[in-house]
Amino acid sequence: MFKKLIEESTGKSPWLFHINAGSCNGCDIELVSVLTPRYDAERLGFKLAGSPRHADIVVVTGPITQQSLPRVLRSIEQVPDPKCIVTMGSCPQSGNVFRGSYSVAGPLSKYVHVDVDVAGCTPKPEAVIDGLYLATQILQEKRKGMKK
């Protein structure tokens, strides 16, 4: 009955859940700056959610340390479908300068399917918005692909 409406809306109201997996805080600050008046991602409907249960897009920053790995995976598990996983910064993609450290378990793509990678150390807010926008498109596709 509301199928089309729901599909349309899924792309227009992505709520973010942000996981810091051992990040140096650079990306975290940059993610928040995306929501500031200057870039205002809210005009695209982006909103930071407090709990993974509310989220559509999971943004992971940091190189996925051994300590944080199970927590990251649990939190990602708890996000209801359809969901999208975005890595932000180079760390969760390659390990960046932390690559090879005994305490780093990354990259994230070893454990879960990552939809969008936003590279950079740290990525510019414009790049982040671009990446997140791409994620909303994927989200919409996923919703369409969900069996009724």
Partner: protein, 647 residues
């Protein structure tokens, strides 16, 4: 010959005395033949059930046809203008309280069958139980002040013994001792008051006293009033006596708590009504209205804040019990027809929902062995039926529409505010505000119980809990259904139960004439006979629960249809034995840990702002019986001084 006698006994005239005697007879029989469990239960069931039936049969003549049944034991009718014989007099007020009591006793008895089955000394329990019931029933049906005192004695001692019944529980003996001491102070007051009145009026018959006392004013009368008033206050646990109730309820088994809260406090309220409206006819005095309304409002507010500070399920319920009694006293103190009707309505509802809540507390205690809010949690998955019943009780007491607590509290708000508008006294408007805020505070403390007992996480110690037996659920179910029905049909309740009972309060001469012969009141009291104008019970506002419920149902149905039409079936739940990460709770990514938010200090945002008040109350309630006795004496002294000034 015997055939005629039998028919004669079926006359409704005899029902009141039978309903009292059945309890005492049952108690007596259980002592004799109560060794066998089935025999014992049968006797208790028959006694309580038959008594309830007899009183129900009286609804038609008394409530609808508006009769008053006097009953003289051994036909010692008044001779020479003096009533010497022992009398029962059942008017709508007595019958109303009688019905409440019989219902509470019957349900509590049903509950006891399974609840008490693991206790030792069961015969003694039922004996005391029926003694208590008979005592209260005798008190409300009696037409004689001295018999009222005797019944008060019987019920006090039965209640003390029942409080200490589970004397292996910590604090049971202490609670019983406290109750004994202060209860005896109360009984002594009643006896002393009775003696003074007898010395003044040379009669103990209520109807005759009611013609004599209002005419002779004086120091003695004032002191007698204060003594009797304080005596009945101890029975109703009005404010200076409230710590006793908390201790007694905490220690007593749940069905006994139902009796103490639903039945014993009612006897106190009944005594106060008889005293103020009938015997002394003082309720037309503004000062006397102020006294009752003030005591009621203070009880209402102090006890609800005390309840917020509790962390034991049963103690919390005990304080709420007195808080609700405060509503009743306030409404009755207004001395308007609407107020009286609202007060009696709330008294009835109090018996029903408080009984239900105490029984659910008993069920929780039965299954988990504790009532400490900090140690419980998550029982809704183990005891779903009990949870639903508890929620109905909690919604009722917190005044959530459409349950009965709301219907009566709503009438009380109207009554107090109308009284304020009628007298132009803004003080009554503040009573309305206190009543409204108290209701929300009640809701807060039941949210606390809901969260920390039935919802939240299940502690390890409670994992063996299971749903209680059918007998217990059945008893609770009766009360839950009654709570809903009396909430949904307030007009019916007012028309058939509380309305007639409330109207008797303003027709004292009818009560006197029924007992002493028609024309007696007019001839004795002459022109000063305080015959109330025909009072009607009118409300300003409107509240139509059935229509509201129907609209709500339509709305709910509409949502469900939309959900089904859009093929909403996206619910996912844990199917496997082990909890997957996906279905575990969110703790910032941590594994599931035990972190139940207990009830200890749930509303600190509220309590922080009232911390000085709470610490004052904490210091005041020392738990020492000497202090409480002192409070009783101070209360008595204040009451005497006030009565001397105003009467």
């Amino acid at each position: 010959m015997s055939h005629i006698n039998l028919l004669y006994l079926l006359d409704p005239l005899h029902f009141p005395i039978f309903s009292i005697m059945l309890y005492f007879l049952g108690a007596f029989c259980i002592v004799l033949f109560g060794k066998n469990r089935i025999v014992r239960n049968c006797i208790a069931f028959v006694a309580t059930g038959l008594s309830l039936t007899l009183l129900c049969l009286l609804i038609k003549p008394i409530m609808i046809q508006n009769a008053i049944l006097p009953y003289w034991m051994g036909y010692r009718v008044p001779a020479g203008g003096y009533a010497i014989g022992i009398a029962l007099e059942v008017d709508a007020l007595s019958l109303f309280f009688g019905l409440l009591i019989a219902t509470a006793v019957f349900v509590s008895c049903l509950y006891s069958f399974s609840y008490m089955s693991e206790d030792d000394n069961e015969p003694q329990y039922y004996t005391l139980f029926l003694m208590l019931a008979g005592g209260v029933m005798g008190l409300v049906l009696s037409g004689d002040l001295f018999n009222m005192f005797i019944m008060v004695e019987i019920l006090t001692f039965a209640a003390v013994a029942l409080t200490a019944f589970r004397n292996r529980v910590t604090g049971a003996l202490e609670a019983a001792f406290k109750y004994l001491v202060v209860g005896c102070i109360g009984s002594t007051c009643i006896l002393a008051g009775t003696i003074i009145l007898y010395q003044q009026a040379h009669t103990l018959n209520l109807a005759q006293l009611a013609t004599i006392i209002p005419l002779c004013k004086g120091t003695n009368i004032s002191i007698a009033f204060a003594l009797l008033f304080i005596g009945f206050c101890t029975k109703a646990f009005i404010v200076p006596f409230h710590p006793l109730a908390a201790d007694a309820h905490g220690a007593a088994p749940a069905p006994v708590s139902v009796l103490i809260s639903g039945v014993l406090t009612k006897s106190g309220i009944y005594g106060i009504i008889r005293l103020a409206y009938f015997l002394f006819q003082t309720m037309n005095l503004g000062t006397m209205q102020f006294w009752l309304v003030f005591l009621g409002s203070v009880s209402m507010f102090v006890c609800v804040t005390m309840a917020l500070a509790q962390h034991d399920f049963k103690r919390l319920l005990a304080f709420h019990s007195i808080s609700q009694i405060g509503y009743v006293l306030t409404a009755i103190g207004l001395a308007t027809a609407l107020g009286a009707s609202a007060g009696l309505y709330h008294a009835m509802n109090h018996t029903l929902f408080k009984g239900l809540l105490f029984l659910t507390a008993g069920a929780v205690l039965h299954e988990t062995g504790t009532t400490d809010l900090g140690k419980l949690g998550g029982l809704s998955k183990k005891m779903p039926h009990t949870t639903v019943l508890f929620l109905i009780g909690a919604a009722s007491i917190s005044g959530i529409p459409p349950f009965n607590g709301f219907a009566s509290k709503w009438l009380i708000y109207q009554a107090t505010y109308e009284k304020a508008a009628e007298t132009g006294n803004i003080g009554f408007a503040f009573v309305t505000i206190v009543a409204l805020v108290t209701s929300t505070l009640t809701l807060a403390s039941f949210v606390k119980v809901t969260q920390s007992v039935f919802f939240g996480q299940l502690p390890k110690e409670c994992e063996n809990a299971k749903e209680v037996s059918f007998g217990m659920r059945f008893a609770m179910g009766i009360l839950a259904v009654l709570c809903t029905i009396t909430g949904l049909f307030p007009n019916m309740v007012q028309q058939y139960l509380t309305g007639p009972a409330a109207k008797t309060l303003f027709h004292v001469s009818r009560y006197i004439n029924a007992m002493m012969g028609s024309g007696y009141a007019e001839s004795t009291m002459g022109a000063s006979a305080p015959e109330a104008a025909t009072r009607t019970i009118e409300t300003v506002g409107v509240w139509n629960p059935v229509n509201w419920l129907m609209l709500l149902m339509i709305a709910l149905l509409a949502i469900c249809i939309v959900a089904i039409a859009s093929k909403y079936d996206a619910v996912r739940e844990n199917k496997s034995e082990k909890v997957e990460a996906k279905y575990s709770l969110f703790y910032g990514g941590e594994d599931t840990v035990f972190s139940q938010v207990g009830g200890g200090d749930l509303f600190w945002g509220f309590k922080h702002n009232w911390r000085h008040y709470f610490s004052f109350m904490h210091d005041l309630h020392s738990g020492i019986v000497n202090d409480y006795s002192l409070w009783a004496v101070i209360a008595l002294a204040l009451a005497m001084v006030y009565a001397l000034i105003v009467l």
